[in-house]
Assembly symmetry: none
Homo-oligomer: 207 residues x 4
């Protein structure tokens, strides 16, 4: 580059620029600690130590522990999504498999637990969790099923909202029961739910 980049030379913030990657390191540490030990046990000291910064460095970015936890949670929710191929059963299985991995990744359920446990003391956490994780996932599942219904694959009066509950909820219940997940677990859940919905492919109808 021979020329000075005018756009950055004149528009950058005054004073010492923030260390890049520091935000990310802090959020990573906060999320890891919150998932492992819960929101209350996650101490700013430990976050600072694990992130390799000092506490005021954190407080300069987020004004309180709650804000930090929120930011970490939102970053956690921002995951790459599975792609939809158009086949109802396949897409449901893919989506559920993706969800299963999210839940079973280390401390995934502990994080959900923390969020639920803080419902009264720190309701923002559950609100963010719902907004950025629960609702989007449900919307994707709902969209897959609604498209199938539009295509005539499902009975017209099928209760899609209930189907989403059963798909997602079966995972929570299985985890709470502490019984291990088999390889074909997601497939079986999807197939069972599709039965409820009166599913038949266009091939079925043609046959």
């Amino acid at each position: 580059m021979d020329e000075i980049d005018v756009s950055t030379a004149f528009s950058r913030a005054p004073g010492r620029p923030r260390e890049p990657q520091t935000d990310e390191r802090i959020l990573d540490a906060a999320l890891r600690l919150m998932a492992q030990q819960g929101f209350v046990r996650m101490s700013m000291d430990m976050v600072a130590t694990e992130a390799g910064v000092t506490k005021p460095t954190i407080y300069r970015r987020w004004p309180s522990k709650i804000e930090l936890a929120m930011a970490a949670l939102v970053a956690y929710c921002d995951v790459t999504l599975p792609t939809v191929v158009g086949d109802t059963r396949t897409d449901l299985i893919t989506e559920l498999e993706h969800f299963r991995h999210a839940i079973l990744r280390p401390n995934g359920m502990s994080l959900l637990g923390t969020v639920l446990a803080e419902e009264h003391e720190t309701p923002e956490l559950l609100a963010a969790f719902r907004k950025y994780l629960v609702t989007p996932r449900r919307q994707r599942l709902t969209a897959i099923l609604a498209a199938a219904q539009t295509r005539g694959e499902l009975s017209a009066n099928a209760d899609i909202g209930l189907a989403v509950n059963m798909l997602v909820g079966a995972l929570y219940a299985q985890y709470l029961a502490a019984t291990p997940f088999t390889e074909d677990w997601c497939t079986r859940v999807v197939d069972a739910v599709l039965v409820c919905l009166g599913h038949r492919t266009n091939a079925d109808k043609a046959g």
Copy 2:
């Protein structure tokens, strides 16, 4: 026994008797605080204050905070159970309704959250929750469905474990979605799951 039980009629426990109802007041306070604020935030000071006793009075009964929390949790799990009448659909609805009330009672989900959040730091809590609440409920649901299968109401290859997951899990999912429960919610879940299981009553078969 023709004679009066001397040990109870004439003797008396040695030492100063315990203040009556103290145990219950402590456990109530502990459970309330744990459900509202989580295990970590539940402080022995607050439990003592809310129960109207001093801390050593608590420590005389339970040797540590964890033991107290465990006792409160077990007491919470020890609820009166619905009676089974023998009709599959009715019994499932009754059971699920009972579960819904347990979950929706104040802070029921927060308590579950606390238990999940403490999975790494205080695993005893989740273990007790599973032993005294989750597993018994699943066993009752399983028993209802297994009886129905024996009577030929369900298809022989119906996956009862999966059905239980869907019944119970739908509730968790609905709660997490933050959508309100309608009056007929349980009925619709049960009916949907019974479809999956190929349910038909003997009346159906006779007809």
Copy 3:
């Protein structure tokens, strides 16, 4: 015994008699704990547990922790004494050997430390220690040396008080230096001190 022992039948204290040996068990436990952990760390709960009694049982005998500690200390000081044979050197060695065993018995120096450490908070302990242990021992040593001086074995102007200090103190110093005691340690101390005192036996003088 065919006859009732009148002397005890009529003179014994009213009410339930105290369990014999209980006092001793309590004092033993108290002394052991005080020597091992110090006066402050010796808790009435631990004393009660180790003695197999309850705390009010202790408080009925001694009105406070300090009184109990005093009683235990006095009982500790009441040991069987070495017999004096009349030979100055032999008696000094025997006495010093006896002292050495007392100091080196488990926690002997720790007990002395506790007593010194409590000089400001619980001065009774040091006072009792001096009265029942230090002073008697010094008096025995002084008596041995005074007798020798009377017999003309020591120079007339020998400083007996200083000699006692050197005899006893050498042991403290050796302990503090953390150097091990040899077999002939006491002998060498006594011989050295006797040199200071200009000691010569009558046999010496006769020769």
Copy 4:
């Protein structure tokens, strides 16, 4: 170095500087409390109050009560030493006088008592006391006597270790006996010990 040391001349330690004199005030308070009341009774709250700081200010400097006590003890041991002039008797008297003042300074013996009392529960204290106070003093006394022996002032087979024990120990014994120290106390101890060692000055030999 011809140049000014830039690091000290122009740079400054990063972060908020420590309140000056805080370390000293904390150590003073800790030592005073430990000497007066013993290690167990010395509470961090009291140290903080007496030093005019808050508890975390203490914990920022020393990670635990034990570490603080150790630091206070080491600071206590770090005293200015008497200078050696080369005359055996004079140097011994000076050294012993110095020791006597250390022991008799307020609570000096109580501090020694605490250190001994904690031998089992907190052995670091006695170890530090030995390392920084007992051993150095003994080494100085030993050096004085060894030099005298080299010069031929003492008999060749004089037991210097024992002599050190008697010099130092006489002080402990005198204190325990609770008899007051006279003005010429140290002189008399030294003279007595020198007799044991067969001391004669070169002047003696020349005469």
